[in-house]
């Protein structure tokens, strides 16, 4: 099962490699990993999307907690949560397809943020599956490049992951 693990970690050199190293050393799967400082610049928030059986996920969270730099973590899959991913897509356009691509982007609530005579760059956020669906809907031979941020998320309600 897919899990989103949100981690508060000391914003120190090497903290990212400790997490990445743990996953590779123990053979855990990483689907995506994002990291950036929080409003408190001494802390980073990391989001790891991973998958595995319950026992594997239990070990992953325990091993992450054991890292000295990790302050706190939660497995978002255990609670109601919202998650988003940012994607930028560069697509080929021609006179014939330009309108169609724009309509499709509108349906998916994407924004066109760069236009040339032969291309668009579309910005889109949503769940990972929504982004997948958009890429699929565009069809083959249209996409020039794709960059995705990996998922980030937080639990719903007033409680949060903080010190």
């Amino acid at each position: 099962m897919r899990h989103i693990i949100s981690i508060l970690i000391e914003n120190e050199a090497g903290a990212l490699s400790r997490v990445a190293g743990l996953f590779s050393a123990r053979g855990y799967n990483i689907e995506s990993l994002t990291v950036a400082p929080t409003e408190d610049e001494t802390l980073s928030r990391m989001t790891v999307v991973t998958s595995g059986s319950d026992s594997v996920i239990e070990q992953i969270t325990k091993q992450l907690n054991k890292l000295i730099d990790v302050v706190k973590l939660i497995d978002l899959a255990e609670s109601v949560h919202v998650e988003r991913e940012l994607m930028m897509l560069k697509v080929k356009t021609t006179n014939e397809t330009r309108e169609e691509v724009k309509r499709l982007a509108d349906i998916f609530r994407g924004k066109i943020i760069d236009v040339t005579s032969a291309s668009y760059v579309i910005e889109m956020t949503g769940t990972s599956s929504k982004l997948d669906a958009f890429v699929y809907a565009l069809g083959e031979g249209v996409v020039i490049e794709v960059v995705r941020s990996g998922s980030v998320g937080m639990s719903r309600g007033e409680k949060g992951l903080h010190l």
């Binding site: 000391e10 050199a13 090497g14 400790r18 070990q59 325990k62 907690n65 054991k66 000295i68 010190l163």
Partner: protein
């Protein structure tokens, strides 16, 4: 007081009451070594190879409970230390390793003797630090000792670039008395609900087993384990790392378990209905085939490290906490409880265990014309009155020592259990002897292992550490040969060395005493003679039976009740010959 970075490191060691610093100098740590020169509180032990520095400090830690401290230079000094660090990591030994690093301006430029020590050691330390600012030095040293010695202990590396230790730059020094880290909180309050569940299980048990590991020793919980076991009357087995945590000569002790554990310990584990795992981690050498591990048992697991729990074996009642705290709480509840141990069931269980014990699985041919390795360890046990510190290397001799030297006290058995590092024994013996100068220290080794750190015979000369080296010389890498005999149709691929040095002359070359013993009747007198030489390192080269194997053995992929025995149960060894 204003100190340079080099002086800060050394002064922090003094403030941590560090007795010995094991190390080897080099370019990146010259400022540090100059600071060492100017003080007398911390005694530096100069080894002959950095790996040995780490092993010696590690064994110092294992035998005293205090952290072992190491100083090595950058690059090769640091990489040489890595085997030792990984050894300490797998056995959860508290250590602080200070490594020199090239100056901060040239880090990352492939400078002379530069290696990314923090990167290399990341997977084999509890934590590591690179100090980039002299202002962080004292606090980092404090954090290193704090992290290394609390919770589940482990090695911590502090990588110190050369410019940070520059004698020309001084800052005010104050060593922090206490420290808190928001991301690290090793103090764990025991969950009372789990204690209750565990006690209910324990008191309902019909075929209970106490399976105790190295955590009992690391957590100073030996007295509590004994009290707990005596209160309940259950059989107790120890892991390789746990030996000495429960007295081996006690009648409730059924021996070590696992791959080379006793028949009674492994059979009892297999048939048990309630297992109380105390500071043990269900290592693969203990469990054998996981799907057939203890098929009838409910398992209670007491461990300081939550990640140890249900890592390989799913347990029924996990209890996170210090072994001694948990056992104390369990005992309090057991004493208050209205239900009692089922004495009748326990008696029947003991009768069964005694039947297994009667198989006498460790018996060997006592009538051999060639020295049997077991005989040497038994004689060592007698000559040292069972009270020596015994270090070992890795292989058959290690298992014979574990099986035949009956450790009654914790911290007496010093071996590389997790990583299985050949070369550990001799530097370890030196570290132990420095810590316990009046105690008998024996290094049980083999002719292959001893050669991996043989250069430390010089360190032993320099610091006058008169340890006794018990070299079980079977002219083979015995354990490799044993596996090749069983699993590779006796194709002894590269498990034999064509050239083995004359160990007697070698010992003498270093200023020690060498003895060659090749007759069974000479074993005990030779040991008596050697241990009577209190101020001499004696290298005892025992020429042993090269075909001897370690039994019982659970071969890889097999389970506890599927042991290979020297003699099938029910066929006693011919006593008339013995």
């Amino acid at each position: 007081m204003e100190l340079s970075g080099g002086e800060i490191v050394v002064q922090s060691l003094i403030d941590e009451d560090v007795e010995f610093l094991f190390g080897y100098p080099g370019g990146a740590v010259l400022h540090l070594y100059d600071a060492i020169f100017h003080q007398e509180e911390v005694k530096h032990i100069l080894v002959r190879h950095e790996q040995a520095a780490v092993h010696a400090a590690d064994a110092y830690a294992r035998s005293t409970g205090k952290p072992g401290v190491v100083l090595v230079t950058s690059g090769p000094g640091a990489t040489n230390a890595v085997t030792g660090i990984a050894t300490a990591h797998l056995d959860s030994i508290p250590m602080v390793i200070i490594s020199g690093q090239v100056g901060t301006p040239v880090i990352g430029s492939d400078a002379f003797q530069e290696v990314d020590m923090v990167g290399i050691t990341r997977p084999c330390v509890k934590h590591n630090f690179l100090v980039k600012d002299i202002a962080d030095l004292a606090i980092t040293m404090k954090k290193a000792f704090y992290v290394a010695t609390t919770g589940r202990p482990g090695p911590v590396v502090v990588d110190v670039p050369k410019d940070i230790t520059d004698p020309a730059i001084k800052i005010p020094y104050e060593y922090p008395r206490e420290i808190t880290m928001r991301s690290y909180n090793p103090v764990i309050k025991v969950h009372s609900g789990q204690i209750k569940k565990a006690v209910d299980l324990v008191l309902a048990a019909k075929r209970p087993m106490i399976y105790a590991g190295g955590g009992v020793i690391l957590g100073e919980g030996s007295a509590e384990l004994i009290e707990f076991s005596k209160l309940l009357g259950f059989p107790v087995t120890n892991t390789l790392m746990g030996l000495g945590g429960y007295p081996a000569t006690d009648e409730q002790f059924v021996g070590m378990l696992g791959m080379h554990g006793t028949y009674e310990a492994n059979m009892a584990m297999h048939e048990s209905d309630v297992i109380i795992a105390v500071g043990a981690r269900f290592d693969d050498r203990v469990t054998g085939k996981l799907t057939e591990f203890c098929p009838y048992a409910k398992i209670i697991h007491i461990d300081i490290d939550p990640s140890s729990i249900s890592k390989t074996v799913k347990v029924d009642v996990p209890i996170v906490g210090q072994v001694k705290d948990v056992l104390n709480e369990m005992m309090a509840l057991i004493r208050m409880s209205e239900s009692k141990v089922d004495e009748k069931a326990l008696e029947a269980w003991w009768n069964q265990v005694k039947k297994w014990r009667a198989v006498n699985c460790l018996e060997y041919d006592r009538n051999s014309a060639i020295i049997k390795p077991q005989q040497v360890i038994e004689a060592l046990y007698q000559v040292t009155n069972g009270d020596a510190y015994v270090t070992s290397d890795v292989g058959q001799h290690q298992m014979f020592a574990a099986q035949f030297y009956h450790f009654d006290k914790p911290r007496r058995w010093i071996n590389s259990g997790g990583l299985g590092t050949m070369g550990f024994g001799l530097p370890a013996a030196i570290g132990v002897k420095l810590a316990h100068p009046d105690a008998d220290v024996a290094c049980v080794t083999g002719e292959a292992s001893i050669q991996m750190c043989i250069q430390e015979l010089a360190t032993a000369t320099q610091y006058r550490t008169p340890v006794k080296i018990i070299n079980l010389n079977n002219r083979y890498m015995g354990m490799v040969r044993q596996w090749q005999e069983f699993s590779y149709e006796s194709r002894y691929s590269e498990s034999y060395m064509d050239t083995i040095p004359d160990f007697v002359k070698l010992a003498e070359a270093y200023g020690h005493v060498g003895m060659l013993i090749d007759k069974p009747e000479d074993v005990k007198p030779a040991l008596e003679e050697a241990f009577a030489m209190k101020d001499k390192l004696v290298f005892m080269d025992f020429i042993t039976d090269r075909t001897e194997n370690v039994f019982p053995m659970i071969e890889a992929g097999k389970s506890h009740h599927d042991m290979k025995l020297r003699v099938a149960p029910g066929t006693p060894i011919n006593r008339e010959l013995a």
